[in-house]
C-alpha cells in the first residue's frame, strides 16, 4: 500500500528538513537553467528577426549578379567579384524569361548614381532602371501615387518612383506626386512614392526607380564583346519555392551556354536565392545560439556540482539514519534510490523555477524593446532534461556512497 509513494515522501522530508540549504542548492540550478533559457531565447529571437527580415525581400526571390563566385568554407553564395567586366545583359534577361520554366516574373535592373535636381533641392541617388515586374518580385509596394505600367515601360515614359527617404529629401514640404525634376540629362516626372521598408537587406528607401527603357536614354549602357547591353542584376520570382534549386540549375546552364563558357571555366555570374541566404544566416545564428547556451551551461554545471556537494554532506549527516534503515530491511537499492530521488528532486525543482525565471527575463527584455527573444519548446525541454540529468549524474556518487555503507559502522556513527 502506497509503497511507490514512500521514497518520494522521504526525499521531500529530506529536502524540507534543511530549508535554507536546499534553497541555496536549488538556486544554483535555477540560475543555470534560467541563464540557458534566457540566452538561448535571445539567439532564437535574433534568428527569427533576421529571417523575417529576409523573407520580406520576397520569399521566392532569386537574384543573378555578374562576377565570379568565390566560395569560402561552407558559406554558400560567396562573394561577387564584379569589377568593370560585367557580363550580364538585357538579352540574358529576355532569354531567361523565354526559356526557364517555373518562374513567374523576371526583371533586369541597371543601377547608376545620378544627380537629382528639383530646382530647390539637389541630391545624388542610386537610380535603378527596371521593368514593372521588379516591384512584385522584390516585394516593393507604393505608398502614394502609382508604380509605372507596362505601357509606360514600352513607351519609354520618363516617369520615376521615389524611395521614401529620397522623397522627403527632395520634397520636404510638397506632395512629390506629379512634380518634375531633372535626373542626369533628362527631365522626369514623379508618379509614385514607395512604402517605407526600414533598415533591412536591399531596402528601397534610398533608391529611385525608372523604366529601364527610359534609363537607356540618359545613361549609356556598357556593351559586351557580343554586343549585349549589360545590366547590374537580374531578379526573378520562382513560382514554387520547392523548385528553387531546379530553377537555379536551369539558369546556370542557360547562362553558361549564352556566355560561351568552357566546361573548366568558373561561372562569370552568381545566383543567390533568398532561401539560400536564409539558410546560411539561420545556420550561422544557430551556431551562435549554441555558443550562448554552452556558456550558460557552465553555470548549470556549477549548480550541478553544488547538488553533489550537498548530497555528500547529507549522506554523511545521515549515516546513522542509513544504518537504521538497513537494520529495518532496506536494501542497497532502497538507500540508493532515496538519495538519488532527493538529488533529482532538488535539480528538478531548480529546473522548473529556472524556466520561469529565464522566461521572465526573456519576456522582460523583449518588453523593454532591448532585444527580440523567442522561447521555443525545445529549449525548455532541453533545460529541464539537462537539469534532471545533472541531478541524477551528480547524485549518483553520493547515493552510491550511502548505499554501500556497512550497516554496523553506520549504526555506530554519531
Amino acid at each position: 500500500m502506497k509503497k511507490w509513494f514512500d521514497p518520494i515522501l522521504t526525499a521531500w522530508t529530506g529536502v524540507i528538513s534543511h530549508k535554507l540549504r536546499s534553497f541555496l542548492t536549488i538556486l544554483g540550478i535555477v540560475i543555470g537553467v534560467g541563464a540557458v533559457i534566457a540566452l538561448m531565447s535571445v539567439g532564437r529571437g535574433a534568428e527569427s528577426d533576421i529571417l523575417s527580415n529576409i523573407q520580406s525581400l520576397g520569399a521566392n526571390l532569386v537574384t543573378v549578379r555578374p562576377g565570379v563566385t568565390m566560395s569560402f568554407g561552407g558559406v554558400r553564395g560567396g562573394f561577387s567579384m564584379g569589377g568593370g567586366s560585367s557580363t550580364l545583359t538585357l538579352e540574358d534577361a529576355d532569354a531567361i524569361a523565354a526559356q526557364v520554366a517555373n518562374i513567374s516574373a523576371v526583371s533586369p535592373a541597371n543601377s547608376s548614381n545620378l544627380q537629382l535636381n528639383t530646382g530647390e533641392e539637389n541630391m545624388n541617388a542610386q537610380v535603378t532602371g527596371v521593368n514593372p515586374r521588379y516591384f512584385e518580385i522584390n516585394n516593393i509596394s507604393v505608398a502614394s501615387g502609382a508604380l509605372f505600367s507596362d505601357s509606360e515601360y514600352d513607351s519609354s515614359a520618363k516617369v520615376i518612383v521615389l524611395g521614401s527617404n529620397v522623397a522627403t529629401t527632395l520634397f520636404p514640404n510638397d506632395d512629390p506626386i506629379g512634380q518634375q525634376l531633372r535626373m542626369g540629362t533628362i527631365i522626369v516626372r514623379v508618379i509614385g512614392v514607395l512604402a517605407e521598408k526600414g533598415a533591412s537587406f536591399g531596402s528601397p528607401d534610398d533608391g529611385v526607380f525608372i523604366p529601364l527603357t527610359a534609363m537607356q536614354q540618359t545613361v549609356a549602357f556598357n556593351r559586351t564583346a557580343q554586343g549585349g547591353h549589360t545590366v547590374s542584376s537580374i531578379s526573378l520570382t520562382v513560382s514554387d519555392q520547392a523548385m528553387t534549386q531546379t530553377v537555379i540549375d536551369d539558369l546556370t546552364s542557360l547562362l553558361r551556354t549564352r556566355h560561351h563558357l568552357a566546361a573548366t571555366t568558373d561561372n562569370d555570374f552568381n545566383i543567390q536565392s533568398v532561401q539560400d541566404l536564409a539558410e546560411t544566416i539561420s545556420s550561422a545564428i544557430g551556431t551562435f545560439t549554441i555558443l550562448l547556451g554552452a556558456i550558460a551551461a557552465i553555470s548549470l554545471l556549477v549548480g550541478g556540482i553544488g547538488v553533489m556537494n550537498i548530497m555528500l554532506v547529507s549522506v554523511l549527516e545521515r549515516t546513522r539514519e542509513i544504518g537504521i534503515r538497513k537494520a529495518l530491511g532496506a536494501r542497497e537499492a532502497d538507500i540508493w534510490g532515496q538519495f538519488l530521488i532527493e538529488a533529482a528532486f532538488l535539480s528538478l525543482a531548480g529546473g522548473i523555477v529556472g524556466i520561469i525565471l529565464g522566461w521572465g527575463v526573456a519576456f522582460t527584455v523583449e518588453r523593454l524593446g532591448i532585444l527580440t527573444t523567442l522561447v521555443t519548446p525545445d529549449i525548455v525541454i532541453l533545460a529541464v532534461s539537462v537539469s534532471v540529468g545533472m541531478g541524477l549524474f551528480f547524485g549518483f556518487y553520493p547515493a552510491w556512497n550511502a548505499a554501500r555503507l556497512n550497516p554496523i559502522d553506520a549504526l555506530r556513527s554519531e
Binding site: A327, L328, G329, L411
Partner: protein, 222 residues
C-alpha cells in the same frame, strides 16, 4: 530457531588479526528467552550482529529458521532482517525528524509497505497510544525505547534482538521496558535474545550465556 556452529569472526588490525569470536557454538530454541552477559570486548555485541544478519561470520555456519544464511548476499540479508528480525538498541535509534507513528511505520516500509492502522496498534500495545504524533525529542528515554519496541514488533518478526535495551535508562523506565519485553515473550511466544549487564534483568530470562574473550565460558538455565 537459531543454530550457530563453529562461528569465528576476525577483524584485520594492522598486520595482526583481532579474533572477536573464536569457535562459538550456540543453539536457541523457538520461543526461548535468552540473556547474553559478559564484559565489554567479549564479543557479545558482534554475536548479536551476526544473529541479526547485520554482519557475516568469517567462518562457521549460521542456520536461522531452518535456512543457512551466513553466505547470503547483502540484498538477501536485508530481506531477512526486514522480515524476520526486530532490533532494539541501547541508543533507541529512532529518526529524530519523524513522529513516533512515522518511526513505527518505517518498520514496515521495506517489507510490504506502511500500514498506519497496524502502527497505531503497535504503539497502543506499548502504552503510547496518546503520544503517536510526538517526535523522539519530545519523549522520555523510556518512551523512546517503547517506540523502538513498537517499531521492531509492528511487522511481527519471529526473532527479537535487544542490545542492552535498558543501558541508557533509569531503573524505573528500565523495569518497564523489561516487563513489556517479558510480557511480549509470554503472550506471543516470540524468541528474544537480549544482551545485558544487569544480573537482575538477566534473571527474568530462561537461560543466561556468559561470554569472555570471544568464547562462551558458561551457561546457566533458570
Amino acid at each position: 530457531m537459531i543454530k550457530l556452529e563453529h562461528i569465528t569472526k576476525t577483524y584485520p588490525m594492522g598486520k595482526r588479526e583481532l579474533n572477536v569470536l573464536r569457535d562459538v557454538n550456540l543453539e536457541i530454541e523457538k520461543g526461548e528467552l535468552l540473556a547474553i552477559m559478559g564484559p565489554s570486548g567479549s564479543g557479545k555485541s558482534t554475536m548479536l550482529n551476526l544473529m541479526g544478519c547485520l554482519d557475516k561470520p568469517t567462518s562457521g555456519t549460521y542456520i536461522l529458521d531452518g535456512k543457512e544464511v551466513s553466505r547470503l548476499s547483502g540484498g538477501e540479508l536485508a530481506q531477512i532482517r526486514g522480515k524476520k528480525i526486530g532490533f532494539i538498541f541501547q541508543t533507541f535509534n529512532l529518526l529524530p525528524r519523524l513522529s513516533a507513528l512515522a518511526n513505527v511505520e518505517l518498520g514496515m516500509r521495506y517489507v510490504g509497505g506502511s500500514d498506519r492502522k497496524k502502527a497505531v496498534e503497535a504503539l497502543e500495545k506499548v502504552g503510547l497510544g496518546e503520544r503517536i504524533t510526538h517526535r523522539p525529542t519530545e519523549l522520555s528515554g523510556g518512551e523512546q525505547q517503547r517506540v523502538a519496541i513498537a517499531r521492531a514488533l509492528v511487522k511481527s518478526p519471529p526473532l527479537l534482538l535487544a542490545d542492552e535495551p535498558t543501558g541508557n535508562l533509569d531503573s524505573k523506565s528500565g523495569g518497564e521496558i523489561i516487563s513489556i519485553l517479558t510480557a511480549l515473550h509470554a503472550e506471543q511466544g516470540i524468541t528474544l535474545v537480549m544482551i545485558t549487564h544487569d544480573a537482575g534483568i538477566a534473571r527474568h530470562c530462561q537461560r543466561i550465556v556468559h561470554f569472555m574473550d570471544g568464547q562462551i565460558i558458561s551457561e546457566e538455565r533458570l
